[in-house]
């Protein structure tokens, strides 16, 4: 039985797709057979960040409509043979997705995958609902700003009341906070909420803080999940997140301002 993880947020543009790409690659690199599904029908984004956009032939909607088999639609990653991508369609409208269709796909995937990552679209409408409905775990991606935190809170309410687990009175979805695009400098300037500020509102299990990092843009331009850039801060942050999720106790990083090197000090002192 696979563990289904939804990467969700409510608010758009906070780093869900970046996170989905990174954690699916991270889990696969640890040897776990992992599938990552793009639920953002109409926008199709994940395949670009995964660097497999040219290999997309069939998509999620084709499988739901029985126009292609699951095996035909799954794209095997070229860097890691434990990782498969199920892309979204760019052309179809959102109504193509059905709860029954999604349920069937997840059930079929559950048979030979260990982890299934669902990259949710923004918002709290149908697409986001379908992405979270069958989840066992939720990675709630939040940026340190009021609107994002509020939307995450709203999404958490939906996770707690509108998921399959909630409706069947089962053990609730396990919720984790991923605080992304964090900049200690801007927190210090009062331009961003701090980890504590966010936690005061959300009180969630913090899985990791991902710093605001140029490496994310570089990675997505190159079509490589940022976790493969092992030297980058964001890549390391996601690697820590995978470890913590798999039960390794690692202290949090990227929360404090980095100590300035001599070079910086010289120029700062001016």
């Amino acid at each position: 039985m696979a563990r289904i993880i939804v990467v969700t947020s409510g608010k758009g543009g906070v780093g869900k797709t970046t996170t989905s790409a990174a954690i699916s690659m991270g889990l696969a690199k640890k040897g776990h057979k992992t599938a990552v599904i793009d639920f953002d029908v109409g926008l199709r984004n994940l395949d670009l960040i995964m660097g497999c956009e040219r290999r997309v032939i069939y998509d999620l909607v084709n499988v739901i409509n029985n126009e292609a088999s699951l095996n035909q639609a799954l794209i095997k990653d070229k860097r890691c043979d434990k990782l498969y991508i199920l892309p979204a369609s760019q052309t179809r409208d959102k109504d193509a997705l059905t709860l029954e269709g999604v349920g069937k796909i997840l059930e079929a995937l559950s048979e030979d995958f260990e982890y299934i990552i669902c990259d949710s679209p923004a918002g709290i409408e149908k697409g986001a609902h379908l992405a979270m409905y069958f989840a066992d775990d939720a990675f709630v991606v939040t940026n340190p700003e009021v609107a994002s935190v509020r939307d995450s809170d709203r999404m958490l309410g939906i996770l707690a009341s509108k998921s399959r687990r909630a409706e069947n009175n089962e053990e609730p979805i396990r919720e984790y906070l991923l605080l992304s695009r964090y900049s200690p400098e801007r927190v210090k300037l009062g331009e961003m909420l701090s980890v504590e500020d966010v936690q005061e509102i959300l009180s969630l299990n913090l899985l990791g803080v991902i710093p605001e990092s140029k490496s994310v843009l570089n990675a997505s331009n190159a079509g490589t999940p940022v976790i493969l850039d092992e030297k980058s801060d964001a890549g390391q942050a996601y690697a820590d997140i995978i470890d913590r999720y798999l039960g390794v106790n690692k202290p949090h990083r990227f929360i404090e301002e980095e100590k300035k090197g001599l070079f910086n000090k010289l120029f700062r002192g001016k």
């Binding site: 709290i124 509020r150 809170d153 709203r154 958490l156 309410g157 939906i158 707690a160 009341s161 509108k162 909630a166 609730p172 005061e200 509102i201 959300l202 009180s203």
Partner: protein, 262 residues
């Protein structure tokens, strides 16, 4: 004119008009089949007979009106009056039905007024509330969802919640409601009895929603958007700012909400 008014003012007060609030359960009709309606009402009453003894009700037939299902209102009134319920108002009827209701001594609750009241206060809990132990819904998407677990007795059941109540969620308890986590801004918690929040209360808290004026609200960190006891409410702007972020209790004294530090 002036003599008249002075004459009145010196007289002893015979009557007084005062605004008052009270809470009435609404009975929402989904079918025009009178036998079915009769059966369901009697079934509900049997579950909590004390509660429905001489209880006034508002009859909501909006569902039927929008579906253009015709209903014999006269027979429905007769049917309800034969139970322990007292119909006092009609909501969502056609012009003809409203006429009939007025003639039968009911007042007409306008839908707009109800919508506003529902938004600001949840002043009129539906009858569905009364048989549910707890309700969790998403305000933006669906009406109250009821948990149809059968209530064992008419004794109030208190509800303990250990996880945070998130923005957009609504919780309802027939008895006391005890929250051992925070209540987010945009969340709504309602109880027929008392409310306890061991954490920050940033959303709305409504105690005594069925009219129990002795209900109280207790919280360890008050930042509420709205508090209400038996329909008497205050919003953030009316709340004493010195009570913000403090452990407080809130109760009703002579129709006024009192907020006191614990």
């Amino acid at each position: 004119m002036s003599t008249d008014s002075s004459a009145i003012s010196t007289q002893k007060t015979v009557i007084e008009f005062k605004s008052s609030t009270f809470v009435v359960p609404a009975i929402i009709i989904h079918s025009a089949d009178l036998t079915q309606i009769g059966d369901s009402i009697n079934h509900k009453i049997k579950q909590t007979p004390e509660f429905f003894k001489n209880s006034p009700v508002l009859i909501d037939i909006q569902n039927l009106s929008t579906k253009q299902v015709s209903l014999n209102l006269a027979s429905l009134l007769k049917l309800i009056r034969a139970t322990t319920l007292i119909p006092i108002a009609l909501r969502g009827g056609t012009a003809e039905q409203n006429q009939l209701a007025l003639k039968s001594g009911l007042f007409i609750q306008s839908l707009q007024a109800t919508l506003d009241a529902d938004k600001s206060l949840q002043a009129i809990p539906t009858m569905q509330h009364t048989v549910s132990a707890v309700i969790i819904t998403d305000t933006a998407h669906s009406p109250i969802r009821t948990d149809r677990r059968k209530v064992k007795s008419s004794a109030a059941i208190s509800k303990i919640v250990t996880s945070p109540v998130r923005s957009g969620q609504r919780l309802y308890s027939e008895g006391d409601l005890i929250i051992m986590a925070h209540v987010s801004a945009g969340a709504e918690i309602m109880a027929e009895g008392n409310i306890h929040v061991y954490g920050s209360l940033r959303g709305r808290a409504l105690a005594g929603v069925m009219g129990k004026t002795e209900s109280r609200i207790f919280c360890t960190d008050c930042q509420a958007e709205l508090i209400s006891i038996a329909g008497n409410y205050k919003v953030t702007d009316d709340l004493d700012p010195t009570m913000q972020h403090k452990p407080v209790q809130i109760y009703l004294q002579d129709q006024a909400l009192i907020i006191k530090e614990l």
